[in-house]
């Protein structure tokens, strides 16, 4: 299964769409419906992530970027240079008044997501908001309620939901290929200070907003948010009951407020644990996301599945067993050539070709991580006005788990997790 096959929809069957309904917009039929049409978009926040999306949108025939907004002029200038025809705004509220803009892409610091999203929805715009969705559970609730009460599209930058590698992996998990899910491990290691260069000290908090509580929840909202979504996905929508955690500033003692290393453990009702660990002063292990099953393991980052099963008897040998028992049944032993002796350690099975392994080092975005597909899906949703199913719920849960994990790491102890988004307060 190549990326091209996946994206052209050749590999989509009813099973895939039933499990992952938000992919309906990626089918060839859906693409035909919107062929030749363009979503007229405005980008709010033209920093590194905003320009990453802009670069992808400029290559997408279903997108027309008509407006750009940032109150930090150097960033706005850089975006304007990429898209000279787009109108420039320093105030996002002015952009929201622009009738030409049908949808907005919000790539601002986390603390602005809720206000801007609520204002954009109120202005009748479709909204793509970068993850994490909100800076607090209260904000998250207000965004969720506003979206539910309206009729605009809301999508969130959880690109793994559109990454072929993850979709295939989750198909395998749901299909029982690794047996029962017994654990979920996530880690994200880097070795850098997570800082951006600032032109002068007064810009420190605006540029390095990720390091300060007023704007960010640090590693939990910026990194864990992506990986925690894997848990919800693998567990079929069942959410954890509680989270415990810890964190500290161990190495980068440079005035930052957010931790430079955290560890959180989420427990599901059936006893499964999902862990998240991040350290940004050692990058040896890079990024890892693993679904552990009673019969196998899926390495999501590398697109490889490993078997727990001991070496199976060959088909001919199984036939002997069956004859001994007087049984005639199918024996699976035909296949392509195999080695004389199977390796003592399972080398795994690749479940998708041309896999792009993301080492997690980039703070902007990585090639082949689903971002292109995600932003294209947003364009289609803007054109059709059709909300991709369940994607808001997926995003809400990953943000909520990140926020409550952050609370656990800061306060210690056990933080209970609501059983439904409607219980959020």
């Amino acid at each position: 299964m190549t990326r091209k096959d996946f994206l052209s929809g050749l590999a989509f069957g009813g099973t895939t769409l039933a499990l992952f309904p938000w992919l309906a917009a990626c089918t060839p039929e859906a693409r035909k419906q919107t062929a030749g049409e363009k979503a007229r978009l405005g980008i709010i926040g033209t920093g590194s992530r905003g320009r990453f999306h802009l670069a992808n949108l400029l290559l997408d025939p279903s997108a027309e970027v008509v407006a750009l907004c940032d109150d930090f002029e150097p960033h706005l200038d850089e975006a304007s240079a990429m898209c000279p025809g787009a109108k420039r705004y320093a105030d996002y509220r002015k952009l929201l008044e622009d009738k030409e803009v049908e949808g907005v892409i919000i790539c601002t610091p986390l603390s602005f997501h809720a206000t801007m999203t609520l204002d954009a929805l109120a202005a009748g715009k479709h909204v793509f908001c970068e993850k994490a969705m909100a800076h607090s559970p209260e904000e998250l609730k207000s965004m969720y309620d506003a979206w539910k009460a309206g009729n605009r599209v809301l999508m969130v930058g959880q690109q793994r939901l559109y990454d072929p590698k993850y979709v295939r992996a989750m198909e395998l998990v749901r299909g029982g290929a690794i047996g029962e899910v017994v654990g979920i491990r996530n880690y994200w290691y880097r070795n850098n200070d997570w800082r951006r260069e600032v032109p002068s000290p007064e810009f420190e908090r605006r540029i390095n907003w990720r390091l300060y509580h007023a704007y960010s929840r640090g590693l939990m909202t910026e990194l864990a948010c992506h990986q925690l979504q894997n848990g919800s996905w693998a567990m079929g929508g069942i959410q954890p009951e509680f989270v415990t955690g810890t964190g500290s500033i161990r190495f980068w003692k440079d005035g930052r407020e957010v931790f430079d290393n955290v560890a959180a453990i989420y427990q599901y009702p059936n006893g499964v644990h999902m862990t998240f660990e991040s350290i940004i002063s050692n990058k040896h292990f890079g990024m890892g996301e693993q679904i552990l099953g009673s019969e196998g393991t899926i390495d999501l980052v590398r697109g490889v599945m490993y078997s727990e099963a001991p070496r199976r008897r060959s088909g001919i040998r199984q036939l002997l067993d069956q004859i001994e028992q007087g049984v005639l049944s199918n024996s699976a032993f035909a296949g392509t050539s195999w080695a004389t002796e199977e390796a003592s350690t399972d080398k795994g099975i690749r479940f998708i070709d041309n896999v792009t392994v993301n080492d997690g080092a980039s703070s902007v975005g990585a090639a082949g991580d689903g971002s292109v597909e995600l932003i294209h899906a947003f364009c289609q949703a803007v054109i059709t006005g059709v909300q991709p199913e369940t994607i808001v719920e997926e995003a809400c849960w990953s943000t909520l788990l990140a926020l409550l994990g952050d609370r656990a790491t800061r306060e210690g102890g056990r933080v209970e997790i609501p059983r439904s988004l409607d219980e959020l307060s």
Binding site: S314, S331, A334, G335, T340
Partner: protein, 285 residues
């Protein structure tokens, strides 16, 4: 040689044997034979396999094939009857498969084309150019499997032989009275079958790409490995022909497959694609 003689089912005492040869696991099951007879038959079959392995292994410097590969590009080489037969067969199959089965595909030099030149009167062979070399790995496996199945059929009406799972030959039917069930394993779901074939005095060959690694079959028309997903399975009376056909049909573009298969009476072929959602798409070629 691994040898088991099981009498746990007293109605069907069964001999099982295994050796590792021809870069794979070779197995045989011999139901309803006396232990001594079954063991002697297994030993005779493995002798054939080991001999073929020694003769046609292109990586062994002293093999008949290696000597041919070293010399036939420079001068005529006299070969024995079996090697001459194999070269004749390979040339015939290359033409019959429109060039998609080609044992010279691993040659260092691909320029110039053309086949080896055989002189039936003197039992000699000459390559058309230096740099040509033959890889008889897959073909020899089918060739010796067919020889072995024939030898076994002389002694018993009920047996099954498998070379690594990619080549299987059945003699007669299963001792419980139905054709031998041979299933293609689903690569993503341990224990699940993608499709089951029923063999009676016939063979099954499977070629394709195992998702565990890169493709290893080379397309003679491009010189590149075929990296698409899935398998081609071929059934028919001759293990040698099913081996040739499964390779050729795996390599050939879809539009040429029907044309190739139509030249082989009594053979059937399927395209098998195992999906990560657990389903399998099977299309008869």
């Amino acid at each position: 040689m691994e040898w088991i003689y099981s009498t746990r089912n007293p109605d069907i005492p069964t001999g099982y044997s295994r050796i590792d040869a021809m870069h794979t696991r070779c197995e045989i099951l011999l139901p309803r034979m006396a232990e001594n007879d079954a063991r002697a038959l297994a030993e005779a079959v493995w002798e054939m396999v080991r001999k073929a392995d020694e003769r046609y292994n292109r990586f062994a410097p002293g093999s008949v094939l290696s000597r041919l590969n070293r010399t036939a590009g420079k001068e005529e080489v006299e070969v024995d009857e079996e090697m001459f037969l194999i070269l004749e067969l390979c040339d015939t199959f290359r033409k019959a498969t429109l060039g998609y089965f080609d044992v010279s595909v691993h040659s260092a030099s691909r320029s110039g084309g053309g086949s080896w030149i055989l002189d039936p009167a003197r039992h000699t062979v000459r390559f058309p150019r230096e740099g040509m070399s033959l890889d008889l790995g897959g073909f020899a496996k089918g060739f010796v499997l067919e020889q072995a199945a024939r030898a076994v059929a002389v002694e018993t009406g009920c047996a099954i032989l498998s070379f690594g799972g990619s080549s299987t030959a059945a003699v007669g039917i299963h001792p419980l009275g139905e054709p031998w069930p041979v299933s293609v394993a689903h690569p993503y779901y341990p224990g699940r079958t993608a499709h089951t074939f029923r063999l009676q005095d016939g063979s099954l060959s499977v070629s394709g790409k195992d998702p565990r690694g890169r493709g290893h079959i080379i397309d003679p028309s491009t010189g590149n490995t075929v990296e698409k997903e899935g398998f081609v399975a071929v059934t028919g009376p001759s293990a040698m022909v099913t081996e040739v056909l499964s390779t050729a049909l795996w390599v050939a573009p879809e539009v040429r497959r029907g044309e190739i298969l139509s030249g082989f009476e009594g053979y059937q072929a399927w395209d098998i694609l195992c999906l990560t959602d657990g389903n399998t798409r099977i299309m008869k070629i």
